[in-house]
Symmetry: C2
């Protein structure tokens, strides 16, 4: 992979300011990703090609950027943060591969998914390989603390996705279980990204905790805003509302709030009931009226804005966590990242 490819992957985004203090290190991370495809010896290329495809997909590289910034904020940054940054990005990629397999997604960011290109079996095993490669990069930090945190993160990611799947069409989701799920599937890895950087930068334990809290709050906010966006987006065809999560039976914060406010009976319950009935009747046909009614009810409730407020509260807390840290360009970049996350529109 050449320098210009690297450029291409991270430029043309509002994130330039965030990358500035760590550009060579982020480049090293991206080269590590690419090198993994060249690695597996005896096989003639079928596997290398497939790895290359999944590892070269463009991305914002937010998680490794957080690790690198959290490490280089300190006077004694360790070169090992590049290994850790590679690990967190690989873990993110492995999760996407398995998620796309589970969701039977055809494309992601305009590229065909691994499961769509080569079947779900290859995608499952490619994902396993990338998970393990991530774990091996963590080992290069020689820190049992980081390896343990990383293993816990993989468990949390799997648990989050599993519970989302098992909870599908289950109307008993509480705010508490929703928070647990978004911690598992998103905030856990953000937290690991920031905490590990601080550990590798030899920060004091109290400072590690501040950066850990930054990652946690940022990750929670990131996922809530993602879930809010799902309600606000509209698919163009037929002018119908999108609301894909609700359509798939996944309850996110706005709907959870609506259920809290009207626990006896509400349009979301009605939609789930209709969906269950149509499933029991044989071939699934979506009761579009019930879905649209539920979406309208959530939108009219004000809970979408209220959810955004929850997220923005976390963004403030993430920023607040940084206030006790040295005023370096890395800290400014992490603050900027919080601001951009709060302003997320896509």
């Amino acid at each position: 992979m050449t320098g210009s490819n690297v450029q291409q992957m991270t430029s043309a985004s509002p994130y330039e300011e965030i990358y500035d203090p760590i550009r060579p290190e982020l480049q090293a991370v991206i080269l590590n990703l690419a090198s993994l495809a060249q690695e597996q010896g005896s096989h003639e290329g079928a596997m290398a090609e497939r790895l290359e495809h999944v590892l070269s997909a463009p991305g914002k590289r937010l998680r490794p950027a957080i690790t690198l910034l959290a490490s280089r904020l300190w006077r004694n940054p360790s070169e090992l943060d590049v290994m850790m940054g590679t690990a967190v990005e690989l873990l993110h990629i492995a999760t996407l591969i398995h998620d796309d397999t589970v969701d039977a997604a055809d494309t992601r960011r305009g590229r065909e998914t691994a499961s769509n290109l080569w079947g779900r079996n290859v995608a499952v095993l490619l994902g396993d390989y990338v998970f393990a490669a991530a774990a091996r990069f963590v080992c290069d930090t020689n820190s049992v603390r980081l390896v343990r945190r990383f293993s816990e993160t993989i468990m949390e990611l799997a648990r989050g996705e599993l519970n989302e799947l098992l909870d599908g069409q289950d109307s008993h989701v509480t705010r508490e279980s929703y928070y647990q799920r978004i911690y598992d599937k998103t905030a856990s890895l953000f937290m690991t990204a920031s905490e590990s950087g601080a550990v590798l930068g030899s920060a004091h334990e109290s400072e590690i905790q501040l950066l850990r809290n930054y990652g946690y709050k940022l990750g929670m906010a990131y996922q809530v805003l993602d879930d809010v966006l799902d309600y606000n987006s509209t698919s163009e065809e037929l002018g119908k509302p999108a609301g894909n999560d609700l359509k798939e039976g996944v309850l996110t914060l706005p709907a959870v709030m609506l259920i809290e406010a009207e626990p006896e009976s509400n349009a979301v319950f009605d939609w789930f009931k209709a969906a269950r009935n149509s499933r029991d009747d044989g071939p699934v046909e979506i009761d579009m009226d019930a879905l649209v009614t539920a979406l309208k009810a959530v939108r009219a409730s004000g809970f979408i804005d209220e959810s955004r407020e929850v997220a923005l509260g976390w963004i403030d807390e993430a920023r607040e966590s940084l206030s006790g840290l040295p005023q370096t360009e890395e800290r400014a970049a992490l603050e900027k990242l919080a601001d951009l996350t709060g302003a997320r529109r896509s």
Copy 2:
């Protein structure tokens, strides 16, 4: 899980002598497996139930037994070998879950598979969870060396399965690539099991290498004998030969030897060609004549016996590796395990 369950899982087998020196530790491993299902906090039980099912399946527990024996052969065994034994067994279980998902297997050892019971999506994510739990148990050894070896093992397992899948119906498999594949999918984990035990038992590096070689050779032999059994088994229905690997397009040692002996043209090539043609023609219909002809050719070639000889040579080498080690009951158990593996009939 009660003591009698533990008993049930390991008794009524020719392996009693192997378990004898390490019975309490193996019991601790099995309890660790069971405890994992109780662990995941907020969720009301759907995930716990599913984990319980996959973790309570009976098994010979050969891999953790190897770790425990290789550790307790020495004067300073570490209690941490129970954690490592738990990790290697969990990794084995995770691999089985993903393999059954990939193969769309309905049952394993008479129990329904996770993918058959709850769908492939749940099975993929359950497997991920168990992989990560395995890695976390390795962290409890506080040994970066073992964590790194473990990560490499997961990569090798995934690569082995992936290459088997990608090589399907590919007649260019050489003896070298076959050996690489069975190292990846089987011997790697056996080697990690024995090596990690020796490391935790504070053996000298030269002794660690002997036990590592024991696990490697035992694992290679184990897989070749498994592949030989596939040729020798017969399915009762219609009195037809089984030969499931060849039917699935997977070349194992006897067929690889046949191809080496007749590289221009042979019945295996003919069968693969017939299988490719029928796939190209649309709905897959097996050309049973070509398959039976290929199976007969392999059986008539003498290469099944020759493959078994290769495996028995490795069994001897595995035993030989032990000859420089202290003559303890643990060493005797490892020798016995080599003998039983060599005598494998099912």
